[in-house]
């Protein structure tokens, strides 16, 4: 299962936890850049999403109730931290109607299965 955390709560994992990998996402009519993100199973990533124009939404499907508002251009970002514990492809999309092409504004977060180290190498 993939666990979603508020960015500031990541420190709760203890001092040994490595800092999350930060991925910057830019939202604009009608795309996310990057629109495809690949992370390794077990990794912790922080998504920082900014807008180049209007308010957008960022909804990550299949990962619980994740539905964030991306503030307008120049008004900061929105952040979410993810523990990618379960391999799979997860769709994210704009959840705030942002114009005529709003329906195309989608992307995918791929959690890639970690190669089995198995302690034998």
């Amino acid at each position: 299962m993939v666990v979603l955390l508020v960015s500031g709560a990541a420190a709760g994992h203890g001092q040994s936890a490595p800092p999350p990998r930060v991925i910057h996402i830019v939202a604009e009519r009608f795309l996310f850049t990057p629109s495809e993100i690949t992370v390794e199973e077990g990794s912790v990533v922080e998504l920082r999403i900014t807008s180049e124009d209007t308010d957008h939404g960022f909804r990550l499907r299949g990962l619980g109730d994740v539905n964030l508002t991306v503030p307008k251009r120049g008004r900061g970002d929105v952040r979410v931290t993810i523990e990618a514990n379960e391999p799979g492809n997860y769709v994210f999309e704009c959840s705030h109607v942002c114009g005529a092409g709003h329906g195309f504004m989608r992307g995918a977060l791929r959690v890639k299965a970690r190669r089995s180290s198995g302690g034998t190498r």
Partner: protein
């Protein structure tokens, strides 16, 4: 009493000054219900503008577009989107005036990122502006000429098709749609009058349209699109087809924004179409076999970061000819071979509210028919 200076200062302080921008940490959210978008069930955009011709003819103040978008999710995979537009403020029966248009009303069946189905009233996926036309996102009071007389925006009709992403930044749409009606083509505006707009559209043969985009590099979006379909279904024994090929790109980095577009229209059987229309109406419409248009635009955001608002200056050069290649026996008219310089500025009071000012200078090959030139002021917004 306020004087004009005090009034402007009051306006700046009370209306135009933005709310303090939240710091990044303050904007952190975690999907709690309270973080849901602060918006109502309806979105939309509007623009109105004043066009003052420079030849001394009276100016025109026009509430050009009032557009409302409604949407509904039946489920995560089944969605409805619509866009209803009132143009020019009023619609009156039997009189030339505004238009009430259902520009979009479709249902999306979301299967997987690479394959989704869409059916209903849809935007034709051609060019930059047709699917991305909210006033704050393009420079200029009016849309580019190329996106008016070569690509007939806003171009919409009924149909069905597929869309999705191939991965690595490639996206596509491919639709079958109601074809264009050749009886409504014109020498000056090409295909523009031909869309049936889903109004009891005749579909003896459907048209096909598609677009392939690359959006995988930050700041760069490119696309190629086409349209192809029969057009002579209302003219007995006339076999005409219309095709359109289009290329476009947008690039932005830092304060710089550029975009360019090229489009070429092919009308097979234009000679037979002109003959048939001449017999039918007594007037030869002088439709061309080929139309061509392109433009390049450069914009630069000029205000320093310390200023709470944003502004950009821009220049756009357009070259467009709605009689690029004529059928045998038809005469090319020089007034339809045009180019234009548009220079101006966009000032965003808010990222969703744009005040626009520009000067549009159209030239043509005709020494008799004067091309339009105007100073334009507009206000457009999205909510």
């Amino acid at each position: 009493m306020f004087g004009p200076i005090e009034g402007l200062v009051w306006l700046w302080l009370n209306l135009l000054s933005p709310q303090p921008a939240p710091q990044p940490a303050a904007a952190e959210q975690a999907g709690a219900p309270s973080s849901a978008p602060q918006t109502g069930p309806v979105s939309g955009y509007m623009d109105f503008h004043y066009n003052q011709p420079t030849d001394g003819t009276p100016g025109i103040l026009d509430f050009h577009r009032f557009v409302l978008l409604f949407s509904h999710s039946f489920s995560d995979r089944l969605r409805f989107v619509s866009e209803l537009e009132l143009e020019h403020g009023v619609v009156e029966g039997l009189e030339e005036g505004g238009e009430l248009e259902l520009e979009q009303a479709y249902v999306d069946f979301l299967v997987r990122p690479s394959l989704n189905f869409r059916a209903g009233m849809m935007l034709v996926p051609v060019g930059i502006i047709n699917e991305r036309h909210e006033p704050p996102v393009f420079h200029g009071v009016e849309r580019p000429f190329v996106d008016t007389v070569i690509v007939p925006t806003t171009w919409f009709d009924v149909g069905a098709g597929i869309h999705g992403s191939f991965g690595r930044g490639f996206r596509y749409r491919a639709y079958a749609m109601a074809p264009l009606d050749a009886r409504e083509f014109s020498a000056e505006e090409g295909l523009r009058g031909g869309a049936q707009h889903g109004s009891e559209a005749q579909v003896r043969n459907v048209a096909f349209t598609g677009r392939l985009e690359y959006v995988g590099a930050r700041g760069l979006q490119t696309g190629v699109s086409f349209w192809r379909g029969d057009t002579g279904f209302n003219l007995p024994r006339i076999d005409t087809k219309a095709g359109l090929f289009e290329l476009d790109a947008r690039f932005s980095r830092g304060r710089l924004e550029t975009r360019g577009q090229f489009a070429r229209v092919f009308i097979d059987g234009a000679g037979a179409l002109n003959d048939a229309m001449g017999r039918l109406t007594g007037i030869d419409p002088n439709i061309a076999e080929q139309l061509i248009g392109s433009y390049v635009e450069v914009a630069y955001r000029v205000l320093p970061a310390s200023v709470p608002h944003e502004a950009a200056v821009f220049v756009r050069y357009e070259n467009f000819d709605t009689q690029f290649k004529m059928p045998d026996g038809s005469v090319k008219l020089p007034q339809f071979d045009r180019d234009a310089w548009v220079v101006g500025a966009t000032y965003w009071v808010d990222p969703d509210v744009a005040i626009k000012l520009d000067y549009s200078h159209v030239r043509s090959g005709s020494a008799i028919v004067p091309p339009p030139r105007s100073i334009n002021v507009g206000l457009g917004w999205w909510f």
